[in-house]
């Protein structure tokens, strides 16, 4: 008798704890949304190696990473904005171009240090304007960053005259853009370094914890006494800094810069982030996932280029990829909630 009550009380005591510990049942779609990227990247690489001529050469693989670096760096930074649930930052197009043009034009006129300083100040201004409008005015991030994109690009075109700027052929920028460490181009190393730093910030610092907490439930975070406006400004600031580095790397590639050189970065970065498994609904995601998404998207576009698919179809592919990835995420969520 006593034994029975004992076991009964055990099960009663254990039950609520159990339901907390066991993860909610995930559906197939939920599983794909969560882990799918690993399989799809594997399948894509395998298909590319087997069926696409010229993919599996060291030259091509380093080239893929070389090209992926600027968009990748932007995507890594923009992950912070997406995790806070603010969709994306369209103005990275203007920010990266501004950083590139400033780097080359100002270092031509003065020196490299002043160029870095000016680009840094510009990035801070972009981050502040976007962050304050979204964080404190609670304005829609897409509209705000659409406006700042045009303001930024307009100013840039006005000040640079819309023409291409060239750096000196033997300057430090050109050296950085073409040099390699072993088989790795410097740009790929910057990509890895940014990944490590941002992973640390997102997972090991107070700020990163606040970002994730804000993404999961922003009113709870605010009620817990956090200044949520500052969190949003911080997220946009990280994106601005990343876009600045992306602009530097992009300008160093060819030792030239022009105001429209980053066109399409916004969408490609968003595609990489979403495909990597960071949710546009906010709260869920990580920096290494975005890196994996970048690898996937850049291998995909490399394969499309090698298979001589036209530019138009490449855009159709990436646009469909965004919608498809979000659909899987949304359906997976809906099923797992039931």
């Amino acid at each position: 008798m006593a034994k029975e009550t004992f076991t009964e009380s055990m099960t009663v005591a254990k039950d609520p704890q159990d339901s907390k510990v066991t993860k909610p049942k995930t559906s197939v779609l939920g599983f794909i949304a969560d882990k799918g990227i690993f399989f799809f990247t594997g399948i894509l690489v395998l298909t590319a190696v087997l069926f696409v001529d010229g993919f599996a050469s060291l030259q091509n693989v380093t080239d893929v990473f070389h090209r992926a670096a600027p968009i990748g760096i932007v995507a890594l930074g923009m992950t912070f904005v997406v995790i806070t649930g603010n969709y994306l930052d369209l103005s990275v197009v203007a920010q990266a171009a501004a950083a590139g043009v400033i780097l080359i034009a100002v270092s031509n006129a003065f020196n490299l240090i002043i160029a870095f300083a000016v680009a840094f100040v510009v990035a801070i201004i972009f981050g502040l304007v976007n962050g304050i409008a979204v964080g404190y005015f609670k304005a829609n991030a897409v509209i705000v960053t659409l406006a700042t994109t045009y303001i930024g690009l307009g100013l840039l075109r006005l000040l640079s005259g819309g023409s291409q700027v060239f750096g000196p052929a033997d300057g430090p920028i050109a050296t950085f853009g073409t040099s390699k460490l072993g088989p790795f181009p410097f740009s790929a190393l910057v990509l890895i370094a940014v990944t490590l730093v941002l992973t640390f910030v997102l997972t090991r610092t107070n700020f990163g914890f606040m970002i994730r907490s804000f993404g999961v439930n922003n009113s709870a975070t605010r009620l817990a006494g956090t200044n949520t406006g500052l969190i949003v400004i911080g997220a946009f600031m990280v994106t601005s800094m990343a876009a600045m580095f992306a602009g530097f790397v992009l300008a160093a590639f060819s030792n030239t810069a022009v105001s429209n050189m980053a066109t399409g970065f916004d969408f490609q970065a968003l595609a990489a982030i979403i495909v990597g498994g960071t949710s546009v609904f906010g709260g869920k995601g990580s920096v290494p996932r975005t890196l994996l998404g970048v690898v996937f998207v850049s291998i995909l576009s490399n394969v499309l280029v090698l298979a001589q698919v036209s530019y138009g179809f490449q855009q159709v592919a990436i646009g469909s990829l965004i919608v498809l990835a979000v659909t899987v995420d949304a359906l997976g969520r809906r099923v797992s909630k039931k």
């Binding site: 969709y87 994306l88 304007v129 409008a133 404190y136 005015f137 609670k138 304005a139 829609n140 897409v142 509209i143 705000v144 659409l146 406006a147 700042t148 994109t149 045009y150 303001i151 690009l153 307009g154 100013l155 075109r157 006005l158 819309g162 406006g229 969408f267 968003l270 979403i274 546009v280 609904f281 036209s310 530019y311 138009g312 179809f313 490449q314 855009q315 159709v316 592919a317 990436i318 646009g319 469909s320 990829l321 965004i322 919608v323 979000v326 659909t327 949304a330 359906l331 809906r334």
Partner: protein, 345 residues
Amino acid sequence: MTNQTVIKVGSTATGFWGKLRTVLARRTEGRAVVLFAIIATVVTVSQPLVFTAYQVTLGRIALIGLVALGLTAVILMGELDLSVASTLAVSGVIAVTVANQTNMAIGVLAALAAGVLISLINAFFVAIIGINSFITTLGMLFALRGMAFVISDEAPVKLQNTDLGIAFGQPLLGPLTPRILIFFFIFIAIQIFVSRVKAGRELLAVGGNRQAAYDAGIPVKRRIFTGFIISGVVASIAGIINAVERTSADPTSGSTVLLASFAAAIIGGNYLKGGKGSIVGTLIGAASLGMLQVALTISGVQIPIQEIFIGGILLIAVITDPSSLRAVWGSISTTLQGIRNSLAK
């Protein structure tokens, strides 16, 4: 009958000023009217040519406003359609390509069908799958731009029937070109639909409180389809008009239209969260921007500066939204309260 209770809805203000205040409080066009007055005054003083060459100004307003009118129907539901810019490009390319092979009427029908199909896809993802409309239409914006490149073979398509194009640019009724007439016709149609037709009123209900609208028996999903179809078809019409008037369809067109039409709709006082707004507001917003653009062009201001102006106006419009101002006032008063508390200690 003696103890009949009178339920007063809304403000109980009486007298002329009270009634006026009630009417003003209900309207959402306040900012649009203020901006319009400022721009009209400045333009009258500095660049009166904008009014003497009113044909040009009206044409510009129609260009900006047409897409904005369709967009308003979606914004009233609290959704957003970023894909209008690409819908415009795709429709223009389809209209011209088909018209070159058959005739203009079939070209127009094909382009309109494309517009409907695009909006059905958008609405499917938003209403049935339940994805946020920003992300859906952003993906569509990108995919459709690619589609325009594919169909046009990555180069502007020339309209072979140039006579039609030239005739289309000529005044049809008095000094008004077909573009302006179509613009006003669509404005009146959407205005009547949103303010007088049940289905149109329901768009506002869906935007105001989706759950309440559903509970009240409004077919929410069908209304989302309605809204997106309006915006898609209107963007299509704008694309066809652009292509015919210029006798060529450019697959890259529409990126500046995106900014200007959003600016017009948001300046017009349409709440991005939905449920409040008006088509008249969008018209006033488009009129302000159109006058500004023509004035800047006549004064010889470069395109980049014009973009800075319109981007700046969009940014100011979106942060002076009443809900934005309330949000920022909330954080300021919290901060002040915090300072006061720490001073009291």
